[in-house]
């Protein structure tokens, strides 16, 4: 998976991360922080491998 433009998104009314906004193979996604979600597993793998960084939330 080619993951680009990754950024944390906060909950509108809470100081809590809601999801990760990113493009995966060119398509726009909001990825939940769920260990069973295939996209999230790949994001974690790429972060651990030093291949991806995620921009902090606004």
């Amino acid at each position: 998976m080619k993951i680009t433009n990754a950024k944390y998104i906060k909950e509108p009314k809470e100081d809590k991360i809601a999801c990760i906004s990113c493009k995966i193979d060119g398509l726009q996604y909001a990825v939940p922080l769920d260990k069973d979600n295939t996209h999230y597993v790949e994001i974690k793998r790429q972060i651990d491998a030093g291949e991806l960084t995620i921009e902090e939330a606004d």
């Binding site: 998976m1 509108p12 009314k13 996604y29 909001a30 979600n37 999230y40």
Partner: protein
């Protein structure tokens, strides 16, 4: 006449009637193992087969009817990507480009309306030992737990049969890989005898008595139709369970992906508990679609101003809308959208409207039964507490998708 002289020909037709045979005189042991009954079979008691006669197919969308993402449009899969095409079916390539399309035509095997068509757009090669082109489906572990594979449960590992209809422009011996993506893999071959002709193939395998097989919502079994494979992923250990990871094909597998313009069609894919291939289980369209929607849901615009969602403005800049999935999803899904803010419009009950300033996001309060979709507008144009709805604006290009594929 001595009994030893009595042959079937000695008994005139219809002379042995039911009344002349004592109750229970003919035991099961006296009936051949695989009888063919020319007429109808009526069972007045309970019918207790040793395997499922419905819901027997562990592959989903084996008839290639469901294509939520692309409909009948061809999608090109480029190198170094695994892309879901028809529902539940993924094409992986790291060598060459290939198009995948749901097709229908009059040459399909009897009873089938659709097939997956794969075409070589840009040829691959086997110069890299890890090069590969795979058309595959990953089966959820929940759906194979009854096979007793791995020896974890009581009972023996069940024998299963994979069957499918295939048509290719390139004849030869092809490979199929079945494995748990962990420590047990089975590579079998089948031969395409005639170019551009539908042929039915089947592969029967005894279940493995060991190995680490998942349970639950994770990956259970991968079934891979190999269309190209570099030498690093090949083996001569066929038709047996092996533990060598990243092994997918026979050393003499046909390198279909190296042929410019080659085509490969597949339909009627079935994986069942059985020692023989039984007829394909044609399920209702509703069942097929619902099974696919556990892994992916597409909500396409279709028409301008389609109403995607309704909800509430939680602040002057944020809306929150709730979507209930058609079925419980395998995992919390990713929320997909077109990537173009102008494809969406927020309408509020005051009559005002606003365009979102960023792509839709999903709340962490969502789960596997529903998704809370958040949309933000620039400025403070919304009225807190007002009802709102998300529409497709004046376009048919937008969509919201929910992706929990394996």
């Amino acid at each position: 006449m001595p009994l030893s002289k009595i042959t079937a020909a000695s008994i005139s037709d219809n002379s042995v009637t039911t009344a002349k045979v004592a109750d229970d005189a003919i035991t099961g042991a006296k009936i051949e193992n695989n009888p063919t009954i020319a007429g109808n079979l009526t069972v007045s008691g309970s019918f207790a087969p040793s395997k499922n006669t419905s819901n027997k197919n562990m592959l989903i969308n084996g008839g290639m009817r469901i294509s939520q993402r692309n409909g009948t449009s061809a999608v090109t899969v480029s190198a170094a990507a695994g892309v879901y095409t028809l529902d539940r079916w993924q094409l992986y390539t790291n060598s060459g480009n290939y198009s995948v399309q749901q097709i229908t035509d009059t040459t399909l095997p009897s009873g089938f309306l659709n097939a997956a068509k794969i075409t070589v757009s840009s040829v691959g090669n086997t110069s890299g030992s890890g090069n590969a082109v795979h058309f595959e489906q990953k089966i959820e572990a929940n759906n194979i737990s009854h096979l007793n594979w791995g020896g974890g449960n009581a009972g023996t590992a069940r024998t299963c049969t994979l069957s499918f209809f295939v048509k290719s422009s390139v004849t030869g011996t092809y490979s199929v890989h079945l494995g748990n993506d962990n420590d047990r893999f089975y590579i079998a071959t089948y031969t395409i005898d005639s170019a551009n002709t539908w042929e039915k193939k089947s592969i029967t395998l005894a279940g493995p008595s060991d190995g680490t097989w998942n349970t639950g919502t994770g990956r259970g079994l991968e079934i891979v139709w190999v269309l190209l494979q570099g030498s690093g992923g090949t083996t001569s250990s066929l038709n047996q369970w092996i533990s060598t990871s990243q092994t997918f094909a026979s050393t003499s597998t046909t390198q279909w992906g190296t042929n410019a313009g080659a085509t490969f069609y597949l339909t009627g894919c079935q994986f069942e508990i059985s020692s023989v291939a039984t007829p394909f289980e044609h399920e209702s369209y509703t069942n097929d679609l619902a099974k696919c929607q556990r892994y992916f849901v597409m909500d396409k615009a279709g028409t301008a101003y389609k109403r995607y969602l309704q909800g509430v403005c939680t602040t002057a800049t944020w809306t929150e809308c709730l979507y209930y999935y058609p079925v419980t999803m395998r995992a919390q899904p990713s929320l997909g959208s077109s990537g173009t803010n102008g494809h969406y419009l927020i309408e509020v009950n005051s009559g005002a409207s606003a365009s979102p300033s960023e792509a839709p996001s999903r709340s962490s309060h969502s789960d596997t039964t529903n998704c809370i979709v958040n949309l933000r507008v620039s400025g403070s144009t919304l009225t807190t507490g007002a009802n709102c709805q998300i529409t497709s604006y004046n376009t048919t290009s937008g969509y919201l998708s929910y992706d929990a594929e394996l």
